[in-house]
């Protein structure tokens, strides 16, 4: 029995939670859990709340085991996780904003998502009078010759809004502090009471670039809660869509990073490749981003013979095009000069924050949901998870390049497995409250979905956690001692989601 399993076994097991075990513990055990996070035994996968309780999802890498511990809040509070384990700080600040539950002992109690403009406080706990508007107190930074540069929320490029406060000494960044929450749309509350169909729509609109991953994670959670068996063909088609989404995003990112290093030619070429992927997606599934194509129970569209041929041609075309681009990336000293050793993330920090996706894998964190908490159909596919340790911008591009290659092979395998069959299983309420959990490897990292359904199968509580929650804080760390002019490069190499984070 792994340490995590033993820890969960000491609590009260919740029977209607699937597929990870969930156990209710007392405050003392909760604190023990936090200690396990702080000493690196476990990785924090998520921390979220319901009206009067908090949950944290833990992962033990050594045993590849995951589970959820829950604590009923007494007097509207719970022992802070962030106090002993910093990756939880922003999650706790968000919980305070949305539920009014207090993380006892947390040092940073500033609001996070709540900018004082909602017209109410604690929107998920029945609301309350709005807090009087206050200036946001950025962390002080003192020293000789320091100056501040404020950027955003509206940025110069066509990207999402967020605020960055740089403190610099000349050109060198001494501290970066992010302020997010501008895109908060209240998805958690819109979910409450929604039917599964609307829930899936909302999930697919949480972060537009990961619409497939979110829809899949949500569907997984619903299917786990209701014990639905998804038909084979639907699983393969889901993987086809997920890999297309990964390809499109990675291709876009590879070019965009080079573009931010003023090397536009790669950008021009990968943008064409990205467009080809999106057009193929449109031709095969009827939507360029494949939105609303994964639904609880299966998929809402099929792939015909013409579509299969189109995808095979796409794979062939990308295989021809990629080597030239890779060669150019690897063989241009002026580009390497910008990307190598820039924005270095240490393996220690990546592990501590449980950084997912290319951010983690470029800094030695050997984790991929598709392999380590494998879900169908990836448990039947052969692929490699590229990992390097150098942790710089160059490494994050390099991981993407290798994942493009892996993605092409995965697509091919999926196509080879396709057999005729039903596309969607019936999803029916089971007449009692149930809970389910889903986790899917999106292009950016692990997308986590947790669902509590009522007896009629409506959403009682849904929480979606973007991988960016654990990547944004690391961006603050890697920019230190770099020059401000390299920030766009570092930022693009992370490509965190604003909308997925802000919810």
């Amino acid at each position: 029995m792994s340490q995590l399993e033993a820890f969960l076994a000491a609590g009260r097991r919740v029977q209607h939670h699937r597929p990870w075990p969930r156990a209710v513990v007392d405050p003392a055990a909760w604190v023990k859990g936090v200690e396990g996070l702080a000493d690196g035994r476990w990785t924090l996968v998520n921390l979220w709340a319901q009206a009067d309780r908090v949950h944290m999802a833990l992962y033990e890498a050594a045993a590849a085991k995951a589970g959820v511990v829950s604590l009923d809040c007494i007097d509207g509070g719970f022992p802070s996780v962030g106090r002993g384990h910093p990756p939880a700080i922003r999650l706790e600040r968000a919980i305070q904003d949305l539920f009014g539950l207090c993380a006892d002992g947390l040092h940073d109690t500033r609001p996070w998502l709540d900018h004082g403009l909602w017209g109410q406080r604690r929107p998920l706990a029945g609301g309350g009078d709005p807090a009087p508007a206050q200036d946001y107190g950025f962390l002080p930074c003192e020293g000789e010759g320091l100056h501040q540069v404020a950027v955003g929320p509206v940025h110069a490029g066509i990207i999402e809004p967020g605020h960055f406060r740089f403190t610099a000494n000349g050109e060198t960044v001494v501290r970066l502090e992010e302020r997010l929450g501008y895109l908060h749309k209240g998805i958690d509350r819109l979910m409450a009471g929604a039917g599964l169909e609307r829930g899936a729509q909302l999930a697919g609109r949480t972060s537009g670039d990961s619409t497939v991953a979110y829809a899949w994670a949500f569907a997984q959670a619903a299917e786990a809660a209701l014990g639905v068996q998804v038909p084979e063909r639907a699983l393969w088609l889901r993987a086809v869509m997920a890999e297309l989404e990964r390809l499109a995003n990675h291709l876009g990112d590879i070019g965009a990073v080079c573009n931010d290093a003023a090397f536009a030619i790669i950008h021009a070429h990968t943008a064409v490749l990205r467009e080809r992927v999106l057009r193929a997606a449109d031709a095969c599934f009827g939507h360029r981003l494949m939105r609303d194509r994964i639904v609880p129970g299966g998929v809402s569209c099929d792939l015909d013979a013409a579509g299969e041929t189109r995808l095979r041609n796409l794979i062939g075309g990308l295989r021809v095009a990629m080597p030239g681009i890779i060669h150019l990336f690897d063989d241009t000293p002026s580009l390497k000069d910008r990307t190598v050793s820039t924005g270095r993330l240490t393996p220690k920090l990546a592990a501590r924050f449980g950084a997912g996706g290319f951010v983690g894998r470029a800094s030695g964190r050997d984790f991929d949901t598709r392999r380590d908490i494998a879900y169908a159909p990836y448990d039947g596919l052969a692929f490699e998870v590229p990992v390097v340790r150098s942790g710089d911008v160059n490494a994050r591009v390099w991981i993407r390049i290798q994942e493009v290659e892996q993605g092409l092979s995965l697509l091919e395998q999926c196509l080879a497995h396709l057999r005729p069959g039903p596309l969607r299983a019936e999803v029916t309420p089971v007449g009692a409250p149930t809970e389910g959990l889903g986790m899917v490897e999106g292009f950016r990292g692990d997308v986590f979905a947790w669902l509590a359904l009522d007896a009629e199968g409506r959403v009682d509580r849904c929480h979606l956690r973007d991988p960016s929650w654990f990547q944004w804080p690391l961006l603050e760390a890697v920019i230190e001692d770099n020059i401000i002019a390299d920030f766009p490069l570092c930022n693009k190499s992370f490509n965190c989601s604003y909308s997925g984070h802000d919810l």
Binding site: A156, K185, G208, I265, G324, Y498
Partner: protein, 176 residues
């Protein structure tokens, strides 16, 4: 690198023919865009994109307008970094309460004459986020909108049609 460039010279361009602007969009614009500003601007518009709460899907497709297939700049349309250089604000998303003020400020910072194009279903009325405590509603709740391009997200072709409509005001309309 040289090989790359050489190939680029001899390859046929990928850029596709321009779509024709939607009739409905043209009509909408004929009402919205008066002649005076158009004469001054000629066939060239600078666009500032503002994400006022989008899920990022709309941004992806707006970005695609710059790829070789659509090549927005051949029409004299280009994206600029500052609202002070812009003729058109291209706004996406349900406007969140946390972005409403920023959007208003961007609008105020844009010199006259100016037009606002709202892109995406959310930008019309809040889309599937309408009614949330954290969402003000469509773009027109905060700044006046001249043209709306529907879609979730609108495809690059949809966007191009809408933007071209801004340039190709129907002939024969008296200048205001």
């Amino acid at each position: 690198m040289n090989k790359f460039l050489l190939e680029g010279i001899f390859r046929r361009p990928l850029t596709e023919a321009a779509p024709t602007p939607e009739d409905s969009a043209l009509e909408e614009l004929a009402r919205a865009v008066a002649g005076a500003g158009r004469r001054r601007l000629g066939r060239s518009l600078s666009i500032r994109e503002v994400d006022a709460g989008s899920c990022n899907g709309c941004e992806l497709e707006i970005n695609a307008l710059s790829n070789a297939y659509y090549d927005l700049e051949r029409f004299g349309l280009r994206f600029v970094a500052s609202p002070r250089h812009a003729d058109v604000l291209l706004v996406t998303g349900p406007v969140t309460t946390n972005m409403a003020e920023a959007l208003k400020r961007v609008y105020d910072a844009t010199p006259d004459p100016k037009w606002v194009v709202a892109a995406g279903d959310c930008a019309l009325d809040g889309g599937c986020f309408a009614g949330s405590y954290a969402v003000v509603g469509g773009v027109s709740q905060v700044v006046p909108v001249d043209l709306h391009i529907p879609g979730c997200p609108p495809t690059p072709t949809d966007l191009l049609k809408g933007l071209l409509a801004l340039l190709d005001q129907p002939a024969g309309r008296p200048a205001a």
